[in-house]
C-alpha cells in the first residue's frame, strides 16, 4: 500500500469513497441516530412539528401488554429457530455428508435449499393454502384421518404465531443446512478416518470431530438466527398481519402497525430502539460465550 506518489492528489481516495460514505451516512447511520432522537417525541408521519415527550414513550412501552405479547412471540421464534435452524440443520448436514447417503445427498440438499430462493410473499401465500381452515392441505388431511375439529391455524390466537414459526423453518432451514454442509466439507478427511480406525462410531465422530470443527459456523448461524428471530417482520406480516387481534404480532410488526396504521411514529421509533438493544445485547452475549469457549 502506498501513501503518496508524485502528482497524486491528496483528495483522490476521498473521491473514491464518496458514494459509499454518502449512501451509508444518509440512509444507514443518520437514520440510526435519528431513531434514538425520535423516540423522545410524539408525532405523526405528515405533521411538520414534533412534540417532545421525554421518556414517556418508554414508560408507555413498559406497560403495553401488546409489547409483552410481541416479545413472547419473538422469544418463541428464537427458541424454535435455534433448535431447528442451528441444531437440527447441523445434524441434517452431517447426515447428508455421510458416505452412506452419498448417492442421494445431492438431490436432497438441492431440494432442501429450494425454499430459500423463493420470496417470503410466495411462501406465505402458499402456506395460506396449507393452513386454510376449511380446504387447506393440513386440515384436509386431518379430516381424512377422522379429526372432527381441526385447528384453525392462522385464525386461532393460540396457534397463529406457531403457524408462522413453522413456515419460517420450512423456508430457512435449507439455508443453514447448506452453510453447515460447506463447513463440514472443509474438515480434513484424515480426522474422520483416524477416528474410524480408533473405533469411534458415528455419534462419537459427530460429537468429537464435526461439532468442534464447525464451531465457528455454529456461532455464525446462531447469531444470524437469533438476530433474525427478534427482527422478524415479513413472515408474520404477510401470513397473519399479526392477528388475530395482536395474538401473533412481533416487535417489528407492532412497530410497523404503530408507524403506518396508527400513525404513532415516535412510539414506533421507541420499539425500534428496544429491538436494537435486544439484538446488540444478544450478539455481545453470544460473542463472549463463543470466545470464552474457544480455549478448550
Amino acid at each position: 500500500m502506498q501513501s503518496r506518489r508524485a502528482g497524486m492528489n491528496v483528495m483522490t481516495p476521498y473521491v473514491y469513497v464518496l458514494p459509499c460514505v454518502i449512501l451509508l451516512g444518509v440512509f444507514v447511520y443518520i437514520p440510526l441516530v435519528a431513531n434514538f432522537y425520535y423516540s423522545a417525541f410524539s408525532f405523526s408521519a405528515l405533521s411538520p412539528t414534533k412534540s417532545f415527550v421525554g421518556l414517556q414513550n418508554y414508560k408507555t412501552l413498559v406497560s403495553d401488554p401488546v409489547v409483552g405479547t410481541a416479545l413472547i412471540n419473538n422469544i418463541w421464534y428464537c427458541i424454535i429457530s435455534v433448535a431447528i435452524q442451528v441444531l437440527l440443520a447441523l445434524v441434517i448436514a452431517s447426515l447428508l455428508e455421510d458416505k452412506l447417503f452419498s448417492k442421494i445427498s445431492t438431490v436432497l440438499r438441492t431440494t432442501y435449499f429450494l425454499p430459500v430462493l423463493i420470496s417470503m410473499t410466495v411462501v406465505a401465500l402458499l402456506f395460506s393454502f396449507v393452513y386454510h381452515p376449511k380446504i387447506g392441505l393440513i386440515n384436509a388431511a386431518l379430516k381424512f384421518f377422522g379429526m372432527k375439529n381441526p385447528p384453525a391455524w392462522t385464525g386461532d390466537p393460540k396457534t397463529a404465531i406457531f403457524s408462522a414459526i413453522i413456515m419460517s423453518q420450512w423456508h430457512s432451514t435449507g439455508y443453514t443446512t447448506m452453510l453447515f454442509i460447506v463447513a463440514i466439507q472443509g474438515i480434513s478427511e484424515d480426522l474422520y478416518e483416524a477416528a474410524e480406525i480408533d473405533g469411534a462410531n458415528r455419534l462419537q465422530r459427530f460429537w468429537h470431530i464435526t461439532v468442534p470443527q464447525v464451531r465457528e459456523m455454529m456461532f455464525v448461524t446462531m447469531v444470524t438466527t437469533v438476530t433474525g428471530a427478534f427482527l422478524v417482520f415479513n413472515d408474520v406480516y404477510i401470513l397473519t398481519q399479526g392477528g388475530p387481534g395482536n395474538a401473533s404480532t412481533t416487535l417489528a410488526v407492532y412497530m410497523y402497525r404503530n408507524a403506518f396504521n396508527l400513525d404513532k411514529m415516535g412510539y414506533a421509533s421507541t420499539i425500534a430502539v428496544v429491538m436494537l438493544i435486544i439484538c446488540m445485547a444478544l450478539a455481545i452475549i453470544q460473542n463472549t460465550a463463543f470466545r470464552s469457549g474457544k480455549g478448550d
Binding site: M1, P13, Y14, Y16, P19, C20, V21, L23, V26, F27, V28, Y29, P31, L32, A34, N35, Y38, A45, I92, L95, L96, L100, F101, I104, T111, Y112, F113, L114, L117, I118, S119, T121, V122, L125, L126, F129, I135, L137, A140, W170, M178, L179, V182, D190, E193, A194, E196, I197, D198, N201, R202, T224, F233, M255, A259, F260, A268, S269, A272, C279
Partner: protein
C-alpha cells in the same frame, strides 16, 4: 480430537486393510435417519409440486379437492396472471434489481479500491462503518428512513427502493470486494503507474477485471436480496405501477379474490427467475451465500 491426531499414522497403515468399514453399512439408527431425510424431502417437495399442479386448476377443482391433480391443465391461468399485473411487477422487479446491482457494485468497488490501495485519514472510520453496517438491519432505522425518503421527494418512485437497497448492501459488498482487491499483487499496479496509468485506469483495467469471480458473487447476492425484498417495498411504494413482485403479489391476492388458480400461477412465475439463476450458477450461488453469511 488430539487422540485422533496422534493415531493418524497408525490409521494410515491399517486403512488399506479395511476397505469397507463396518460403519459404512446400514445400521438401524441410520435407517431411521434415512426415513427422516426422505420425510423432510417430501415436506419441502410436495408443497412446491402442489403449487405448480394447482396453478393449472380451476377454482372449483381446487375447492372440491385440494389434493387432486388437474383434470384439464388450465394454461390460461398463466396468461391471466401475466395480464392481471404480474407483467408489470415482473418488469419493475427486473428494473429495480438490475439498477441496484449496478449502483451497489459501482459504489462498493470504488470504495473498496480506495480502502485497499490508499492510506488516508479516515480509512479506518470508513472500514468500521462497513463492518458495523453489516450488523444493522433496516428494521431498526425504518422510521427516520421513511422521513428521509419523503423529505428527498423520492417516496413512491423507483429510487425509493433502489437507493436504500444499495445503501444496505454496500457494507457486505465492500468487505467482499476489498478482500479480493487486497490479493492483487502490488507489482501489477506499480508497473502500471510507472507506465503512466491514471488511478482510475488502474482500477478499471486491472482491479475490476482481476476480481471478476467476486464481482459475479456480489451480483448474485444483490440479485437474491433485491428480487425478494419486502419491507422497504411495502412502506416506500404506494402506487400500483411501481410495485415489485413481493408487494405486487399481495395486491394480486386481493384483486383476484377467489381466482386461486391464477394467483398460484402468478406465484409460480414470480419464483422462477431465482430458481433458474440458482440452477445455472449453483457454485457461485453457494459460494456467495457462504461468504455473505460468514462475513456478515
Amino acid at each position: 480430537m488430539s487422540q485422533a491426531v496422534i493415531s493418524k499414522n497408525e490409521a494410515e497403515k491399517t486403512i488399506k486393510r479395511h476397505n469397507t468399514l463396518p460403519e459404512d453399512r446400514m445400521t438401524p439408527g441410520m435407517a431411521v435417519a434415512l426415513v427422516f431425510l426422505i420425510l423432510y424431502f417430501l415436506l419441502i417437495a410436495y408443497p412446491l409440486f402442489w403449487l405448480i399442479s394447482n396453478s393449472l386448476k380451476t377454482y372449483k377443482e381446487i375447492y372440491k379437492n385440494i389434493w387432486a391433480l388437474p383434470a384439464n391443465p388450465q394454461w390460461m391461468n398463466y396468461v391471466n396472471a401475466w395480464n392481471h399485473g404480474i407483467s408489470r411487477y415482473f418488469l419493475n422487479s427486473v428494473l429495480v434489481t438490475l439498477s441496484t446491482i449496478a449502483l451497489t457494485i459501482f459504489s462498493a468497488a470504488l470504495g473498496s479500491y480506495a480502502l485497499a490501495r490508499f492510506r488516508f485519514r479516515g480509512n479506518q472510520l470508513i472500514f468500521m462503518m462497513c463492518m458495523g453496517g453489516m450488523m444493522l438491519s433496516p428494521q431498526v432505522t425504518l422510521i427516520p428512513l421513511y422521513q428521509i425518503i419523503r423529505a428527498l421527494h423520492i417516496h413512491d418512485t423507483y429510487l425509493a427502493m433502489i437507493i436504500p437497497y444499495t445503501a444496505y448492501r454496500i457494507p457486505m459488498m465492500v468487505m467482499l470486494i476489498r478482500s479480493s482487491f487486497l490479493t492483487i499483487p502490488k507489482e501489477m499496479e506499480e508497473s502500471a503507474s510507472l507506465d503512466g496509468c491514471s488511478d482510475f485506469r488502474i482500477f478499471w483495467q486491472i482491479f475490476l477485471p482481476m476480481s471478476k469471480p467476486i464481482l459475479l458473487t456480489c451480483c448474485i447476492l444483490i440479485a437474491y436480496y433485491a428480487w425478494n425484498e419486502f419491507l422497504f417495498a411495502i412502506i416506500f411504494i404506494n402506487s400500483e405501477k411501481f410495485k415489485t413482485i413481493p408487494t405486487g403479489l399481495m395486491n394480486l391476492r386481493d384483486a383476484l379474490q377467489t381466482d386461486w388458480g391464477t394467483l398460484l400461477a402468478g406465484m409460480t412465475i414470480s419464483a422462477m427467475p431465482l430458481i433458474i439463476l440458482f440452477f445455472c450458477m449453483q457454485k457461485h450461488f453457494i459460494r456467495g451465500m457462504t461468504a455473505g453469511a460468514v462475513k456478515g
